[in-house]
């Protein structure tokens, strides 16, 4: 478990795809590597988000607590980055992350991540691109969903 092995993982994270290994090494070094046991919370819904998680190993459930109870809305695993929204804009965590197996996670604090973006604008651009793609996908999904809903309403 060295930062070199972590860099291999980071390269596979879509968000960091275009960024050179040297900068990823720095990202790895200023992140905290933590392990979580099955059942432990990486973060809890509603709390202030101060870090993003890059999953190196293991899986976690994304759990949303609603009035009707807890609901698993997605599952994340190795090479996924989660919680990055919280470190870009000041919003409370929208969901809890619960480990379903033993996990190795890189935790990067909001402060360090923003400093890094400031240092390497191309990295900021990459992040922006990834977010824009996600937005584009979300928008497409939304319009599809709206269309389906409209169809249903009409039909």
């Amino acid at each position: 478990m060295t930062i070199d092995s972590e860099v291999d993982t980071l390269c596979r994270v879509p968000l960091f795809k275009g960024i050179d290994a040297k900068k990823l090494r720095l990202l790895a070094f200023i992140s905290e590597r933590t392990c979580f046991r099955s059942g432990e919370h990486l973060c809890s819904q509603g709390e202030r988000g101060d870090s993003a998680f890059i999953i190196l190993k293991g899986e976690a459930d994304v759990v949303v607590t609603t009035e009707s109870g807890e609901q698993v809305v997605a599952q994340v695993g190795a090479n996924d980055i989660v919680g990055e929204i919280a470190i870009l804009c000041d919003v409370p965590r929208t969901a809890s992350l619960v480990a379903v197996s033993d996990m190795d996670v890189l935790t990067i604090s909001k402060e360090s991540f923003l400093k890094l973006l400031k240092e390497f604008p191309e990295m900021a651009l990459e992040v922006m691109r990834a977010l824009a793609q996600r937005l584009e996908k979300t928008t497409r999904d939304l319009s599809t969903a709206t269309a389906i809903l409209a169809d249903q309403a009409a039909g």
Binding site: T2, I30, R33, T34, F36
Partner: protein, 875 residues
């Protein structure tokens, strides 16, 4: 205070001045004999005839006679210098004692200033007055009377000699004295005026520098450093011109003096020569007069120098004194009186008015009464005069008119002994003193020493010496190292119970959890029995960590046979720590024994290479960052001050291998030692290295160990002094790769501590927490609570709170309830600006623009006297 320096000198040191005069007088015959003796030796012993001579009943030949005279001369030289030495020491002693007396008096006067005065003076002006400005007076005081008396006397003797030789020549000699007597004081007067300006100017500079330091955040935040520099530059220019003017005049005085002194011989040669030629006086007489005149120059110069110093010192004295000789000082008895008057009955204000002018809030004809034992809110905003009314009630301000009475006694006439011991006053921003938390809590009990200082072996003469010196200078007779805590005032009987009371008060104001955490971070010194109990707790914690996998997942315990990946390489290698907690890990390689051990055990090259690899990685990682990035500061473990050295070492390493200089090797080893493998993940500490380090550990214990006293080793059965209590209890490291491991283990320790009833000793250890300069290591709310706890600990008869705990939030509400609970049955005045908060109190006074707007005073059982208070000084 004495308005002039001479009056001050005469009043407090006339006896010493007389002694100085006497010793000086005594030294004159000695000096005379010493001048005579060489003549006798030359004329009588060497060139003389008719031996043997009879000296004190002995017949002496020439050689023995010469020897006797020479030894007599030698003896006189020693005696004369001895007298001079004694005289100088005595003068110095007198001067220093007077200086001490003056400084003490000045500070005592500062303590007698009334409150409004402190708004007019700044501490950066007062401090130099008491310290540096009066410094020169010490040197002058010893000379103050002796010098003019004797130099003047000598001058007179020489002058009369000249007059006896020839009245006309005598007249010639003094002819120009009136001119000097007219000119020099005239110039000096101007110098005195300038000297006054200089003192004021220097004070204003000190004030500005002080402001610059206190307001440094504002200076940087507003980019006003240029303005401040210009302002200082301007003042420095004034300073320069004043000083320039002063020394121009000083040298002018010197010039006139020298000129006139050398002008007089002109009269001697002309008038004297004429008289000799005319045969009116003998040639011999003229020569004698010339010689005498030459001797005149010495004392004259001394007198002049004295005159200038005297003028300078008098100015300094006066410019200092005028700031302390205020008409409205508190009477001295207010400070010194130890009499505590029993205060019983209601606190009443009768048409109390107070004004400071200048638009500050004031009190206007305030009339109110708070019965004994009632809790009364004083409601009003910042401009309502609320704070003034509360200060008036505490006796800290004196009303312009009207009376503040407690149980019918005018509190303005009461001494601080009563006001300060029976009334508690806490305002927002209360001052926290440098020192420990304990010092601050006990502060309110330190009125007078309650015991004589314990005499350490051999310290008695020192104590006596201190006391006599204090007596002769009218300084405080109290010994600051004695015990000052008035246990009984806090309802305690000894040190232990007082500690208990302090802890009770801390938990009342809700500071106990914070202090418990401070205690966990404290180092335990002494307390062998307590350490034993703590070691028991350590064992219990260790058992639980081993048996409970969940806990085991949070902590890596110290194990002599296993590498601890959550700890630094240094801790792993030493399996211990530097004995001095101020020695950082990077400094360990400065220890020679340690380096010698590394070389012996073969680890030296290994650590150097780890250090080098780490340094390379750091340079690679952080090298491309811009200079202003703070990432390096927070993450790289090579400090920016080490960076140039590291880069140089790496460059040299790249350009071909030479022998690495010793200092560079130590630097690299220092870097290697800081690595915490679980945290830094640089891959430089692999399993092989780990095994080697674990192996070397035992060798280190055998070869270096604790013998040098520089290292303390980890031992499950022994207390590790450089570690905090918490780290001692864990006896391991919270795992670096587990989130919030420390918080979670602390929570567990907290439970164990409670289980084993060790919370209290840890709280007590927390009392020794150093609060920093003016409490800077405490948060604002902690400071406020410490101030409250300090006031509550002395169990005041009346407590006045102005500001703290006055918010509407639950936190303040809880604190407020705790204060009220603690003051049950005693009077409480509580200042707040929220009427809602005020309505919690049965009594309330609402102030607006200094006037009582609303008074809410229900019927109250009239109690004449409170429960007998455990007030030590009362009994």
């Amino acid at each position: 205070m004495e308005s002039s320096l001479f009056r001050f000198i005469w009043n407090y040191s006339k006896r010493q001045q007389v002694v100085i005069m006497l010793i000086t007088t005594l030294s004159f015959p000695l000096l005379y004999i010493m001048l005579e003796l060489p003549k006798l030796i030359v004329n009588d012993a060497i060139q003389g005839k008719s031996f043997p001579r009879n000296v004190a009943g002995f017949d002496l030949d020439q050689i023995p006679y010469l020897l006797v005279l020479c030894f007599a001369f030698l003896g006189l030289v020693i005696l004369n210098n001895g007298v001079k030495y004694t005289l100088n020491v005595y003068k110095g002693l007198t001067g220093e004692r007077m200086l001490r007396r003056l400084r003490y008096e000045l500070f005592q006067r500062v303590l007698r200033f009334r409150l409004p005065q402190f708004r007019r003076v700044s501490s950066s002006e007062i401090i130099p007055m008491i310290t540096s400005e009066v410094e020169d007076l010490g040197g002058f005081i010893g000379d103050a009377i002796a010098v003019p008396a004797f130099q003047g006397g000598t001058l007179l003797v020489y002058l009369s000699f000249i007059f006896v030789q020839d009245p006309l020549l005598g007249l010639a000699a003094v002819a120009l004295y009136p001119v000097q007597g007219y000119l020099i004081p005239k110039l000096q007067r101007r110098v005195v005026v300038l000297a006054r300006q200089r003192v004021r100017n220097v004070r204003s500079i000190a004030d500005r520098v002080g402001e610059g330091i206190n307001g440094v955040n504002e200076i940087h935040a507003n980019d006003t450093s240029a303005w401040h520099l210009a302002d200082l530059s301007n003042r420095l220019h004034t300073n320069f011109t004043i000083r320039y003017e002063i020394f121009k005049r000083k040298y002018m005085i010197k010039f006139i003096n020298n000129l006139i002194n050398q002008l007089t011989p002109f009269f001697f040669y002309s008038i004297g020569g004429y008289l000799v030629i005319q045969g009116n006086i003998s040639f011999g007489a003229l020569v004698a007069v010339l010689a005498a005149y030459k001797d005149l120059a010495g004392p004259w110069k001394e007198l002049l120098a004295y005159y200038q110093t005297q003028a300078d010192c008098s100015v300094k004295y006066q410019t200092v004194i005028e700031n302390f000789d205020l008409p409205d000082l508190y009477p001295l008895e207010r400070l010194t009186s130890d009499e505590v008057v029993k205060l019983a009955g209601p606190l009443a204000m009768t048409s109390v008015s107070f004004s400071e002018g200048g638009g500050r809030p004031e009190a206007q004809a305030v009339t109110m009464e708070v019965p004994l034992g009632a809790h009364c809110a004083v409601v009003g905003d910042d401009r309502s005069g609320r704070s003034e009314v509360l200060l008036l009630a505490a006796g800290l301000l004196t009303p312009d008119s009207g009376r503040v009475e407690i149980g019918g006694r005018n509190i303005d006439a009461l001494a601080a002994a009563t006001l300060g011991r029976l009334i508690g006053y806490v305002a927002s921003g209360a001052h926290i003193f440098s020192g420990t938390l304990r010092d601050n809590l006990y502060y309110g009990l330190r009125h007078r020493p309650v015991t004589v200082a314990e005499a350490v072996e051999g310290a008695l003469p020192d104590i006596a010496y201190r006391r006599t010196e204090a007596e002769v200078t009218s300084n405080s007779p109290f010994d600051v190292s004695a015990e000052w805590e008035d246990y009984r005032a806090a309802g305690a009987v000894d040190r232990e119970t007082l500690e208990q009371s302090a802890i009770d008060v801390l938990s009342k104001v809700g500071l106990d959890d914070d202090v418990y955490r401070m205690g966990l971070q404290a180092r335990l010194d002494g307390h062998a029995a307590l350490k034993d109990r703590m070691l028991g707790l350590r064992a219990a914690i260790g058992e639980r960590v081993k048996s409970d996998p969940k806990l085991g997942d949070l902590v890596e315990l110290w194990d002599i046979d296993r590498f601890n990946r959550s700890a630094s390489v240094a801790e792993n290698l030493l399996f211990g720590l530097p004995a001095d907690p101020s020695v950082s890990i990077g400094q360990i390689p400065q220890n020679e024994r340690f380096i010698a051990f590394l070389k012996q055990s073969g680890l030296h090259p290994e650590l150097v290479s780890i250090g080098r690899k780490t340094a390379e990685t750091m340079v690679e990682l952080f090298g491309s960052l811009s200079a202003e990035s703070s990432l390096q500061e927070s993450f790289s473990f090579i400090g920016s001050d080490q960076m140039p050295d590291v880069e140089r070492i790496l460059r040299k390493g790249a350009s071909g291998d030479g022998e690495l200089p010793d200092a560079d090797a130590r630097l690299l080893i220092g870097i290697a030692l800081k690595i915490v493998p679980a945290k830094h993940r640089l891959g430089v500490v692999d399993e092989e290295v780990e095994a080697k380090i674990v192996q070397a550990r035992k060798a280190f214990h055998e070869r270096v160990g604790t013998a040098s006293g520089k290292f303390v080793l980890f031992d499950r059965g022994a207390w590790v002094t450089p570690l905090s209590i918490e780290d001692n209890l864990i006896f391991g490291k919270p795992r670096g790769d587990r989130r919030d491991a420390r918080e979670r283990i602390e929570f567990f320790i907290g439970k164990m501590v409670d289980e084993m009833e060790l919370r209290e000793p840890i709280l007590k250890a927390g009392l020794d927490y150093n609060v920093g300069v003016a409490g800077s290591r405490l948060t604002g709310s902690q400071r406020e609570k410490v101030a409250l706890a300090r006031a509550l600990l002395k169990k005041p008869y009346i407590l006045i709170v102005d500001g703290p705990a006055s918010g509407a939030n639950t936190h303040d509400r809880t604190l407020r309830d705790a204060i009220r609970d603690a003051m049950e049955g005693r009077t409480l005045l509580f200042g707040c600006d929220d009427p809602q908060v005020g309505s919690e109190f049965e009594f309330s006074v609402t102030l607006n623009n200094g006037r009582v707007e609303d008074l809410n005073a229900p019927q109250w059982p009239r109690i004449e006297e409170a429960e007998p208070l455990t007030q030590g000084s009362l009994q």
